[in-house]
Point group: C2
Chain length 297, copies 2
């Protein structure tokens, strides 16, 4: 574990794992198979991944979709110069949901895509409600609209607005004496975050918050609907769904599986920036080709 903080201030859940200062990381260059870079997409990863990719195989979870082309180009140049393999934008979206979209689009080229998120905690929206005046603590759940989901699953190919796809549910611990009506109004009318959605605000106590809302559940659905046949008469629906008690633990599990693939690709002499689209699925498995063909094909 390499940290930007003072190493002695960290207490890891797994005993026996050494903690070093990130300033010393190059000393360990020959001992590290792959670095999992755990930083934020706004400012950390755009700098960190391209820096470390010069000397290490790396995996990151960069999730600012609009900036992926730029991040890819920067990391690709660094990884090629260093002869390393760098996997960016790994996790579940981008990541496993991207794979679900790609496979399904290639199989059903005449069709429609639908992605729903939730029910789950949105970090960005929870941060936003905690910045509202009078709010002591808060958490926001993104919830797919059940009727929209069922319409897609039933093959109705609906055209859905933002409001028709997801609702937002907020649990708010107010500060003593705060104006609850004003908090609710400020949340529901917040542009970009809540104004385009049907939003519900519940006020709860700090005790209720700790008891019922301390977890980080998430989930979601990727659908591809499409048609085949002489006149497109035959309809098909592909659905990929995840239900997660812990968003960060599942994301880490995805990164771990792909980290194995990165090491294999490096051993085979590859280099450069990769995404989940570039990784043969067999590379994720600790089992041999014979074993996965015998047991999972």
């Amino acid at each position: 574990m390499f940290t930007r903080r003072a190493p002695e201030t960290l207490k890891l859940q797994t005993e026996g794992v050494p903690v070093y200062s990130v300033n010393d990381i190059l000393k360990y260059k020959n001992e590290i198979d792959v670095l999992m870079i755990c930083g934020g997409s706004a400012t950390d990863l755009p700098e960190m991944t391209k820096t470390y990719a010069k000397d290490f195989c790396v995996v990151d979870s960069f999730d600012t979709h609009a900036r992926i082309p730029e991040h890819f180009a920067n990391v690709d140049a660094a990884a090629k110069a260093g002869g390393t393999v760098a996997l960016i934008s790994c996790g579940w979206d981008p990541g496993m949901f991207s794979l679900a979209r790609l496979y399904a689009n290639c199989i059903l080229p005449n069709g429609q895509d639908y992605t729903f998120w939730g029910k789950g905690v949105s970090q960005g929206h929870s941060d936003a409600i905690r910045r509202v005046e009078g709010v002591k603590n808060g958490k926001q759940y993104t919830v797919p609209v059940q009727e929209a989901l069922e319409a897609v699953r039933n093959g109705e190919n609906p055209n859905l607005t933002t409001r028709q796809k997801h609702t937002r549910v907020c649990y708010v611990v107010p500060k003593p004496g705060a104006d609850l009506k004003k908090i609710e109004h400020d949340i529901k009318t917040m542009p970009n975050y809540f104004a385009d959605y049907d939003t519900t605000v519940y006020f709860i106590t700090e005790e209720e918050f700790a008891r019922d809302h301390s977890g980080m559940p998430h989930g979601g659905f990727v659908f591809r609907t499409g048609s085949t046949g002489a006149d497109g008469a035959n309809k098909h629906i592909i659905e990929y769904r995840i239900q997660l008690d812990s968003n960060p633990e599942f994301t880490a599990s995805v990164l771990m599986a792909f980290a194995r693939a990165v090491v294999r690709m490096k051993k085979e002499g590859m280099s450069g920036c990769k995404t989940v689209f570039d990784i043969p699925p067999a590379y994720l498995s600790p089992l041999s080709g014979d074993e996965i063909r015998a047991h999972m094909l």
Copy 2:
């Protein structure tokens, strides 16, 4: 289109596609990017794929799970000798369901797998009921048991017997004067096919059969449930589901997407036998790496 029948006896749905005798296929060796071998797994594909892989890139849908290692070895030797790429066992199971199992197993190594098939037409079981004395025509639907499916989806990790996972529903057109009680008994007690399942038999007319049971719908579900965290307290469920109006058309669509990948791998100088596990997902897409990163990641 190459056929074992007399070419002039074939009438294709797509106009303008030439039909040749398979005996002349080597004449077209330099004009063919990839052959999609449409044969049965019992006796056709074990011979055909290894034969044609010597001279052509090929894709097959070999689905006898127990014989995949042997088929792989035979085809691999032929493809390596011929410098071709040969993809075997493509389709949805084996194929897309195999990918769902592999990805999910690598992400959640501590967990359980569940595969459900249906609701859909089983060719093998339909053939079996048509061989029963007194049966004129018949079709069999494999139906997942809803309670079992919901228990898995709710994270209950049930242990399920064969009978608890699927039921079998038969639509039978009897011959005039046939003993219906005996037909029903003969079907329900048939070893391997029906004896281990709760089976329902409906008798219908030839008109009803033509009106309601001429299609080839199918579908199914692959679940992986798993846990993460210090004491495995956090549960996760991954679900991959398909609903198909036409099993053969969807299967052909999967083979078509993978055929594109086979041609790309050949152009890159690869050779040998592959399965869906060996194909980088990006190879399935007609779009460039830049495009899929920008639009699907």
